[in-house]
Amino acid sequence: MSTGAIAQQGFGARGFALPPNTGKIVRAVLTYAVLILFALAMIMPFVFAVVNSFKELPDIAANPMRLTPGVRADGTPYSWTLQGYERALTTQQINFPRAIFNSFFIAILVTIMRVLFNSLAGYALARIRFPGRGFAFAALVGTLMVPGIVLLIPRYLVLSQLGWIDTYWALLIPYFADAFGIFLMKQFFESIPREIEEAAEIDGASRFRMFFVIILPMAVPALTAMAIFAFQGTWNDFQGPLIALNLNRDLYTLPLALAFLRGVTGDAIQWDLMLAGSVITTLPMAVIFFIFQRFFIEGVSYTGVKG
């Protein structure tokens, strides 16, 4: 099944008693069946979650499978409701509207700065000769293997030394560069033909100008990939804010807000609230994904080819 054209040839050559098209049709049907099954498996959990988030609490518990409101034991029907959302958005302990703002603010700023810093560093590692370059690169690759959990407490100590706990700084600055992104950019810049820079150099362009005027515009696909990852990673990050924030709930990002929401209801999880919170947390990212889906898909594809 490596490629369509060859595969079709292979099937067509076989001389069964069946009509010549049967193989093709069977294969198409099988293909679509498998794909649709998997697509359903990927999408249905969200569909169930979204639909149930608009149902009444007892209805969620009794009829989670129904995609419309169910019927009570006494025969009266349940109805659609926004109660879960109302409670999630108005609960005293957690400021969801503010968390939405925080998530956007932090993700956007981190994305911009990370793209800038990573590409600068990646370019230096790829093309500029300076002492310690080899060491810096080896050290970077080493950090890729560090389990995030190792850094939990020590990073808190560093942030508290800086006085950044419970401030935006702690949610921003540490994320302005990351080893994976630098690695990605280095790989990319190494794939650009040297001749382009050499020509620019003859014209007397400085490294700085060369980078911003000539190299960076060529790097748009790599930058897009990195921007997508930076945004997505920051938006969904849980451990980062968990470390950086302690008592200032005004700075909670959405994942933290959702984790906190569970605490609000105590041991008995109230699923209307939790599902509504999950939808609120996912919705902005989903909208962005559907608008920029091409870039997401290209971005992910890009890492595989270059990694």
């Binding site: 490629t3 060859i6 969200f46 600068l120 560090v146 959990i149 990073r155 984790a259 898909i297 595989g304």
Partner: protein
């Protein structure tokens, strides 16, 4: 060649040599990223490393902790004669190992197969399928874990779907308590053949290796862990499929055309063109899959907290537990052991995949 050529316009004033300029440029370019990585990765890493040699309890500033040398590491491997920490560590190794063994091959093979299917030329709606498969990957682990906790509830959707299918086939289905079932799936399988802890031979139930009997070692992941594994596979397969798909589309069509002109069969083409061309991508996917699995934490945190009966305790989870429960020095030491394990596996895997490339 032209690197050393002096530029023409030397308009007076102080001027660095070309080499010094180059160095300065290098430092300047890398400085912002370097400062951040040093301050927020290396410095914490270094302090975690130092902490791993202390008895720090995490309830006071670490400067007040006392050094204990290698005692934390000795406890992890039971070299000091104690067993509590060692046993928990090896339970975590076992759980993490089963988790990885279940997740990494499954998600890689599934992703590869899906990529082949989506790559077929006649396929329509390719864009839709790509988007559908990738969608779970954009969602926060906390959201996914929350939704899965709900889906896997005993009265939840998963049991409902399985029950519905079983009913349709005329079978009886007793709902599984997914999030609280400590039975290992290999044990469950062996039970079908009448082999249980009571009927297993004595050498299995009485030989104790590193705190667990052989019978316990071969338990397989618990049912709860299986649910978490399904979650992980569900989340990451889409991303990996896209990566494979891009690699497949990157293989020059001419290669296949040339091969088919030379009379190569489809299987030969697959073996001699597709497989080698996909090798670097496969290595990449395996490596990120492996590193991700060894670090699994967020899902455990939301869904099971190491329960039931410790069957979802992973290495990252016990690191966290020790940090939180007044044994931060020990937690830091565990974290470094995890770091070394990941490094060894990555290097080993690189060797392995690298070797097959040579053949």
């Amino acid at each position: 060649m032209a690197v050393a050529a002096p530029s023409l316009g030397n308009q007076g004033g102080f001027r660095l040599s070309a080499k010094a300029q180059e160095r300065l440029a290098g430092f300047t370019f890398i400085l912002p990223a370097l400062i951040i990585i040093i301050a927020f990765i290396f410095l914490p890493l270094l302090s975690a490393f130092l902490i791993s040699f202390t008895n720090w309890n995490g309830l006071q500033p670490p400067t007040e902790a006392a050094g204990v040398g290698l005692a934390n590491y000795a406890r992890i491997f039971g070299l000091d004669g104690t067993t509590v920490v060692r046993d928990e560590f090896f339970v975590a190794i076992k759980n993490t190992f089963y988790y990885t063994l279940g997740v990494v091959p499954t998600q890689t093979i599934l992703a590869l197969v899906l990529a082949f299917i989506v790559n077929q030329q006649f396929l329509r709606f390719r864009g839709f399928f790509r988007v559908a498969f990738y969608f779970p990957s954009i969602t926060s682990s906390i959201v996914i874990a929350t939704i899965f906790l709900w889906l896997f509830n005993r009265n939840g959707v998963i049991n409902g779907v399985i029950g519905g299918v079983a009913n349709f086939l005329g079978l009886q289905y007793t709902p599984v308590t997914w999030i609280n079932d400590a039975n290992g799936i290999i044990h469950n399988f062996l039970r079908l053949f009448g082999l249980t802890a009571r009927t297993a031979p004595a050498w299995m139930t009485e030989t104790n290796v590193l705190g667990q009997t052989i019978w316990q070692w071969i338990s397989g992941p618990s049912v709860t862990m299986l649910a978490i594994m399904l979650l992980a596979i569900w989340t990451t397969t889409g991303t990996m499929m896209l990566i494979f798909l891009a690699a497949l589309q990157d293989i020059p069509r001419q290669l296949y055309e040339a091969a088919s002109v030379d009379g190569a069969t489809r299987w030969q083409q697959f073996r001699l063109i597709t497989v080698p061309m996909l090798r670097p991508t496969t290595f990449f996917v395996l490596t990120i899959g492996l590193i991700g699995c060894f670090q699994v934490f967020d899902q455990i945190y939301v869904i099971s907290q190491g329960n039931p009966a410790g069957t979802t305790k992973t290495i990252a989870w016990i690191v966290f537990r020790n940090l939180r429960d007044s044994q931060a020095g020990l937690g830091a030491a565990l974290a470094f052991v995890l770091f070394v394990i990941i490094a060894i596996f990555t290097i080993f895997q690189r060797r392995l995949v690298g070797k097959t490339v040579q053949q």
